[in-house]
């Protein structure tokens, strides 16, 4: 990327600008960019809106931001809330807060604390979440480590290692009837699967461990199968 000729863009207060090619883009306050942005570093503090695609190397949102297009970046940090209408392609994703993606996520490493909503598929090598999430398509990652908070929904899960945990606290036991922490999915397929608080129709894997509070329709396993006393498994088959 030829960065020498690029200028910086800074919008402060209540303002708007057109997009283009920049070195650093900083949006402070209540600001809007009205077209595509191609930059090295993108930073939005406060309430930022981009009515177009963003391409950057580093991408950071503090506060609340809205994006009409797709985002392509090497790293992406969100502290606060971000809404992306298009797809998200970023090698490293770290989210503290809330993100909703209208398209799909493709990444190397996703780390989420908070809430995640994805309309389509979510792909990564490592997906670790302490979150409440809702994925409309397939969650596909080599290593999936999830601690669930609230109701999580995924259409399907596939990968090598899939671990779903729920850390029960005293607080949970009081309000349990109101908020049940569980993961709902149609299908889980992986080599090593370890589940808790999961409702799934079918689970297929080599080593399967079904922990407490699970409701599984069918388990198909090829090596090991282990079931907790507090779990319900309608049928299990060794292949």
């Amino acid at each position: 990327m030829d960065t020498k000729v690029r200028e910086d863009l800074e919008v402060n207060g209540f303002g708007a600008s057109n997009g283009g090619q920049f070195n650093h883009v900083t949006l402070n306050g209540f600001s809007t960019v009205n077209s595509d942005v191609d930059c090295v570093e993108f930073k939005s503090n406060g309430f930022g809106t981009v009515n177009g695609n963003v391409k950057s190397e580093q991408f950071k949102v503090n506060g609340k931001a809205k994006f009409k297009g797709t985002i392509e970046s090497q790293s992406l940090f969100i502290d606060g809330t971000a809404k992306i209408d298009g797809n998200l392609h970023a090698e490293h994703v770290k989210i503290s807060g809330k993100i909703s993606v209208g398209g799909r996520i493709k990444s190397d490493e996703i780390n989420i604390k908070g809430t995640l909503t994805v309309e389509e598929d979510c792909e990564a090598e490592i997906f670790s979440a302490e979150a409440q999430f809702n994925i409309g398509g397939l969650l596909n990652a080599d290593e999936i480590k999830v601690q669930i908070y609230g109701t999580c929904k995924v259409k399907e899960i596939g990968g090598q290692i899939i671990i779903v945990k729920h850390k029960g606290s005293f607080f949970d036991s009081i309000i349990k009837p109101l908020f049940t922490a569980q993961l709902e999915t149609d299908l889980i397929e992986g080599d090593k699967i370890d589940l808790e608080n999961t409702i799934a129709k079918v689970v297929r894997g080599n080593q399967v461990r079904i922990g407490r509070n699970c409701q599984i329709g069918l388990v198909e396993y090829s090596e090991d199968f282990e079931q907790d006393k507090k779990a319900i498994v309608n049928k299990s088959v060794k292949i």
Binding site: N140, G159, Q160, D186, L187, E189, K201, G205, N206
Partner: protein
């Protein structure tokens, strides 16, 4: 098992006979349909047959080594299951397994994708690597009048010409038409799966570029001289280059 002989009215027997025939015919048609479309294999059977794990399959899917279209969803008695076109997927898995020893998964993904990477080779390099013969190279340079450096697109063009000319399917005049067609449609070639088709009727030949075509039918008396898939050619070419 024992069968009792009972006397049925003749029309009942006839009716039964016709039902049998109808069923039989239906079965025959069904079988015909089944073999016409591609044979599918379920994900479970595929893993067992190919000896791979779920982790590997999902990893390859993530790396786009297996195209999205091959994941066919069907509802079965256990709910939704995923099926694959058997021949295509097995061929692809064997390719991946044999090649992943030398190449990383990302390099493999580049190879299978129709998108074109930035690769450039010198004219002599191509001849030296036995990708093109000197005669075809000279013919190409004469007609195309381009530089000494070959990007992947020009390499594909010359590779296809080499294939067609060496097989003896086409003559030099026809090769010129093929080159013209390829040159005029570079945009589609880069993005879609295309086939080059050469037909001949009464000694007059023509060349077509088929974009995403499933089947083609030609009139009687027209002979399909050769059909080359550019996607496969690209894979072959990339395999030779890497």
């Amino acid at each position: 098992m024992s069968y009792e002989l009972r006397i049925y009215p003749v029309n009942k027997i006839l009716q039964f006979f016709f039902t049998c025939v109808t069923l039989l015919c239906y079965a025959v048609i069904q079988k015909g349909v089944m073999t016409m479309s591609e044979e599918l294999i379920s994900k479970k059977d595929l893993l067992e047959l190919a000896g791979i794990s779920y982790g590997q399959l999902y990893r390859w899917k993530r790396k786009d080594l297996i195209p999205e279209e091959w994941f066919v969803r069907k509802s079965t008695f256990t709910g939704q299951e995923t099926f694959f076109p058997k021949e295509k997927i097995l061929e692809r898995i064997i390719k991946i397994q044999t090649m992943k020893e030398n190449l990383s998964l990302d390099e493999l993904a580049d190879m299978f994708s129709p998108n074109i990477k930035n690769m450039e080779f010198e004219k002599d390099e191509l001849i030296k690597r036995n990708i093109v013969s000197t005669t075809v190279m000279n013919f190409y340079m004469e007609n195309e009048k381009g530089g000494q450096k070959f990007n992947i697109l020009r390499m594909l063009e010359i590779f296809v010409l080499e294939k067609l000319l060496q097989s003896g399917d086409i003559n030099l005049d026809e090769a010129k038409t093929v080159l013209e067609v390829l040159k005029a449609n570079t945009q589609s070639i880069q993005q879609k799966s295309c086939d080059i088709l050469i037909t001949r009727k009464l000694g007059v030949s023509s060349c077509f570029l088929l974009v995403n075509a499933e089947d083609i039918y030609v009139e009687k008396g027209t002979k399909i001289v050769s059909q080359v898939s550019l996607m496969t050619s690209m894979e072959e070419l990339k395999a030779k280059l890497l």
